[in-house]
């Protein structure tokens, strides 16, 4: 693979879709909504702002889970515990964000090229099929990763503003959210992009790719859920085994998407 060439393709793609207001809006607004507005809303709903500890059973359940990962968990009040619990639920929502962003961008990449009839010109270049798929993967990954990072930073700031009066220290980002940001979220993003590229190679329009891509949400949510459960069941298992399994899935999907994307098939679909 010639990295300069595929990087040229990624840069071209990023330049191209950032000229679309619809896509830019999704990349900017989603992290802000999920990172800031969702935690605030959930806090208000759960009654964390002075409504008292009205959810004893969930606190007891989370006691068992979070006492394993948070050292000073026992020192917190029930209100703090309940706020942190909701915070982790929002963190899972943040981890789901790359799926939403990539569903907008990755569908644009291959199906979009086909829809706008630029695919044939792309296929006339010396770029190999593998370089085309990798280039598209990078161009979809970068904005998703940036948006996820912005969302996690925003989330941490908002959560700490809420939590500081309750626990007297900065809580987020903790080990789990850092691992989510730098390990789980990027791999989930790659899997989501690969899945959507795979879908994009099989359909002719962006609309079809986005709609079919929506189905990918289910297995990806299951993966995120399993990763979260693993974290709280055993931190070491969550840090090491979970990401390795996710990486293997990403590698497998990469192999499938590069082997399925063939010039001839892409061209015949243009007819």
């Amino acid at each position: 693979m010639k990295w300069k060439r595929l990087w040229a393709l990624s840069v071209k793609d990023m330049k191209d879709y950032t000229k679309s207001k619809y896509i830019v809006f999704s990349i900017i607004v989603l992290p802000l909504v999920i990172g800031a507005i969702v935690p605030l809303q959930v806090m208000l709903y759960s009654g964390s702002f002075g409504a008292g500890d009205n959810n004893e059973s969930s606190v007891i359940f989370m006691d068992n889970v979070l006492s394993r990962t948070v050292d000073d968990w026992e020192d917190f009040t029930n209100q703090a515990k309940s706020t942190i619990t909701v915070g982790y639920i929002v963190l899972v929502l943040v981890a789901m964000m790359p799926i939403i962003i990539t569903s907008v961008i990755a569908a644009e990449t291959i199906a979009g090229e086909r829809e706008r009839k630029t695919m044939e010109a792309l296929l006339t270049t010396p770029l190999t099929e593998k370089e085309i798929v990798t280039g598209k993967l990078i161009s979809s990954f970068i904005p998703s990763f940036i948006a996820t990072t912005v969302a996690i930073i925003t989330f941490s700031i908002v959560m700490d503003i809420i939590l500081y009066p309750l626990i007297g220290r900065i809580f987020f980002p903790d080990l789990i959210s850092i691992i989510f940001l730098f390990v789980v979220s990027p791999i989930i993003t790659i899997i989501a992009v690969e899945g959507l590229i795979l879908v994009s190679t099989r359909v002719s329009t962006v609309r079809d790719a986005t709609q079919l891509g929506g189905l990918l949400l289910i297995p990806l949510l299951i993966l995120i859920g399993l990763q979260v459960v693993l974290f709280f069941y055993n931190t070491i298992l969550g840090i090491v085994v979970g990401p390795i399994v996710l990486l293997l899935i990403a590698a497998g999907l990469f192999k499938i998407s590069t082997s399925l994307f063939k010039r001839e098939k892409a061209l015949v679909k243009l007819v």
Binding site: K4, R5, K12, Y17, S20, E120, P126, R263
Partner: protein, 322 residues
């Protein structure tokens, strides 16, 4: 002797029982402008795609610049320029960004890229549109950008699918001049798919006529004329129509192809043009018939093409009716 740059043997592409290209065998020499003519669906675009390794043949083989079209297709695409049937530009990107991307994937260094883009936009007279989004350009302008994109890496050979189809007469002439310049001064070989027969006649050193995936004729336009049943015809035009004109030609042994009283002309098929023409002029002058024009019409490529393609269709119909 010039080198063979394209060679195909029995090149065939079959889709579900339908032959898009069927047993194509041809050779194209260096610096040649080869035109592939044929009606819609004849297999012209498929031929270009097979030659540039974008499609794999069902059988047969092809080599371009000495490279195998299947096993070395990426190398072929590095060394050739391809203009697709539609301009296929990135509409949201500027003209410059479109050209820059294609230069980058051909590994052209930054300084050289800038220089080439600058020269090309100047050459194609689109320098004032360099920073404009390609989607905002007219159809003709977009075609110019697409051609500039195809030659940005100075390819050794060019494949042009309907290069002047959407251009104004001035822009089309500019493109034709550019194609001639590429072959004459820069030794490039050009393969053109075209519907424009007069363009093919003006540009191409050799043409091939493709019909239902089969190459039914190949050669220089002058060579293809010899394949025709119709040959050179001589047209006489008169100042006014006179009964004597009809009488003279009906009594002589001259073969009349057409008599057009409205246009005051007769079209003749003469056995020996050099000897017969002056005799007819003398005879008609003796009869006091004023001749305003005498010309010999050679069949143009359009006539050759139509006769070959229609003849082939006619033959098919005859076979089907049997």
């Amino acid at each position: 002797m010039s080198e063979i740059v394209v060679e195909t043997q029995g090149l065939t592409k079959k889709y579900d029982g339908f032959y898009a290209v069927n047993g194509l065998s041809l050779k194209i020499n260096e610096s040649e402008i080869f035109g592939l003519l044929g009606p819609n669906g004849a297999g012209k675009t498929t031929t270009v795609r097979l030659l540039t390794g974008m499609l794999e043949p069902s059988s047969g083989n092809a080599s371009v610049l000495g490279l195998n079209s299947v096993t070395q297709s990426n190398k072929i695409r590095e060394r050739v320029g391809i203009l697709t049937e539609t301009s296929s530009l990135y509409q949201r990107l500027s003209v410059r960004d479109n050209l820059d991307f294609f230069a980058k994937v051909h590994d052209i260094p930054k300084e050289e890229r800038d220089l080439r883009i600058k020269n090309l936009v100047k050459q194609f007279d689109i320098a004032d549109k360099e920073n404009e989004a390609a989607g905002k350009l007219s159809k003709g302008m977009r075609q110019k950008v697409a051609i500039a994109r195809a030659i940005i890496h100075s390819p050794e050979m060019l494949f042009l699918d309907e290069p002047t189809g959407s251009l104004s007469p001035e822009a089309a002439k500019m493109v034709r001049d550019l194609i001639v310049n590429l072959t004459k001064n820069e030794n490039r070989t050009v393969f053109i798919n075209t519907h424009n027969l007069s363009e093919a006649e003006k540009l191409c050193s050799r043409v091939g006529i493709l019909e239902k995936g089969i190459l039914i004729a190949i050669g220089k336009p002058s060579e293809l004329r010899s394949l025709l049943h119709s040959d050179v015809v001589t047209v006489f035009r008169f100042k006014k129509w006179d009964k004597q004109i009809s009488d003279y030609f009906s009594t002589s042994s001259i073969k009349i192809a057409d008599e057009d009283k409205e246009r005051l002309s007769v079209t003749l098929k003469l056995e020996n043009i050099e000897e017969s023409t002056p005799i007819i002029i003398k005879d008609l002058s003796r009869l006091n018939i004023d001749i305003t024009e005498v010309r010999h019409n050679r069949p143009d490529l359009e006539q050759i093409y139509l006769e070959l393609v229609n003849g082939d269709n006619h033959q098919d119909e005859m076979e089907e009716s049997k």
